[in-house]
Amino acid sequence: MRPLRRLVLAIPALWLFAFFLAPFALVAKISVSRPLVAQPPYEPVFSLADGWQGLWDKLSRLTLDAYALVFSDDLYLDAYLSSLRLAAIATLLTLLIGFPLAHAMTRAPRQWRTALVLLAIAPFWTSFLIRIYAWIMILKDEGLLNHALLSLGLIHAPLSIFATEAAVLIGIVYSYLPFMVLPLYTALEKQDPALLEAAADLGATPLRAFWRITCPLAWPGIFAGLLLVFIPAVGEFVIPDLLGGSDTLMIGRSLWNEFFENRDWPAASAVAIVLLAILIVPLVLHERQQVKERAA
């Protein structure tokens, strides 16, 4: 490789190594340290001055206590399971809403489509926090939704949606919908309408044609959308923290509390490592799909 080329590759590669890859080694290391009331709040701290003997002493002080805590405390187990459950439900709901929307977008006149795509992505450019805040305003017991329903006489007592799992689901579906709509639209837009006409000519009902032709051809888009929503949703912190109740368990929130409130860094690191281990399969699938897509 020519020197200039080498530089063009080396600079971003070094940056990613320093600020994305290497830090994971540190998370792994601190997850096997002991919590301490000190600065930094864990031990042992390795240093070049230790020498071989010192290094050996410190290595022997490493411990799996934090993992024992994570696996023995029901609170963590419940938080992992509940995160996976909520993320899975929310991802399916996003697909159920996103698919008809993306499908309708492909049926719009050609000159509208660019505008519709821009409209679908635009919420991504507005702050996540602000969009969640908008839902607090709507869903609160004395919020806009209850106010509207009460004054229309549709309900007689306010609905309690805020601070429940339902509110968290609404928040995830709302925040991640653009990530579902975009890959679905891209996959559906590429489909040749002649295929559906051919199916109709051969006597397939529209429903059957949809099921046997549209869906299988849209699968890459569906798959991409599912991964793009599910993976970040499992580790979501802001949505359960702001829209969920105190009993809404999600692992991102447990990690945050362990870190910022209990100041137990080894436990927070162990929670992060186990979360990564859970997400490794969908993450690898996402990587492979990205590589395939970018190579195409």
């Binding site: 590669a13 609160k140 979501e236 996402h286």
Partner: protein, 264 residues
């Protein structure tokens, strides 16, 4: 079988986009509410915007956020463009899979994990957290998004244009400046804007990587939101949405102005 937009599709579009935009519209509308109670419309007022001007802590954090977003988006654009070139132009180099993996993973990685790992890095290295540590975090996230955007442009790039310039005697550097850069500039600008708004909006990574005196705007907004729904938050949110919208429209206008030149 009928093609095109049927009433059913129109209804789906209306419901879908209604779901996406009604909450934002309500948020903006109620920032002009004279009443402090969010659900009661007490008449039109710009009172809450005036109150913002007197809130020095909020203005200071907005300034921090802007500076972080500016610096990190420029860095992310440079690094992301380089990474995109490496992925598209360098063929199969050793470590390419790891490199591509490290570029695509942050797109979906839960932010709490990225934030925690960065914080442990800075503590481990004994670096005081503040402005530059937030910049480092946001640059890392932003560069991945820039790479995806610029990579898409480079992949459809007609390389015969570069070859023609070289055949006419241009040096590689002159070719890059006169041919390559103008053609990928719109993608770089789009990526830069994406990195800028991601940085401006980020709360989780900033919380982990910030230190005393470098509280960003989303951190300030979060603290206020936890206390409850207030018209001030609506007002600051509206300003932020307006600001980002203004930048996006500006960028679209610049691209439109450039086009006749480029194609002529």
């Amino acid at each position: 079988m009928k093609r095109g937009l049927q009433p059913f599709h129109l209804a789906v579009l209306a419901l879908g986009f209604g779901f996406l935009y009604v909450p934002i519209a309500l948020l903006v509308l109620y920032s002009f509410n004279a009443s402090r109670l969010v659900t009661v419309w007490g008449g039109f007022s710009t009172h809450w915007y005036e109150a913002l001007l007197g809130n020095e802590a909020l203005l200071a954090s907005a300034f921090v956020s802007l500076r972080v977003a500016l610096v990190s988006s420029v860095l992310a654009t440079i690094l992301g463009t380089m990474a995109a070139f490496a992925l598209v132009r360098f063929g199969r180099f050793s470590g390419r899979t790891l490199f591509a993996g490290a570029l695509y993973a942050p797109l979906v990685m839960p932010e709490v994990i990225i934030g925690l790992s960065l914080l442990l890095l800075f503590v481990g290295l004994g670096i005081d957290r503040g402005f530059w540590t937030i910049v480092a975090g946001h640059t890392t996230l932003g560069l991945c998004f820039v790479t995806v955007v610029v990579q898409a442009r480079l992949a459809t790039f007609d390389r015969s244009l570069e070859e023609a310039a070289m055949d006419l005697g241009a040096t590689p550097l002159a070719t890059f400046r006169a041919v390559t850069l103008p053609l990928i500039a719109p993608a770089m600008l789009a990526g830069c804007l994406l990195a800028f708004t991601l940085s401006l909006d980020d709360f989780v990574i900033a919380s982990f990587t910030s230190g005393p005196g470098s509280t960003t705007l989303p951190m300030r907004i979060y603290a206020q939101v936890r206390l409850g729904v207030t018209p001030e938050v609506n007002a600051i949110s509206t300003l932020l949405i307006g600001f980002v919208g203004f930048i996006l429209l500006g960028a679209a206008a610049i691209n439109r102005l450039r086009k006749p030149q480029g194609s002529g």
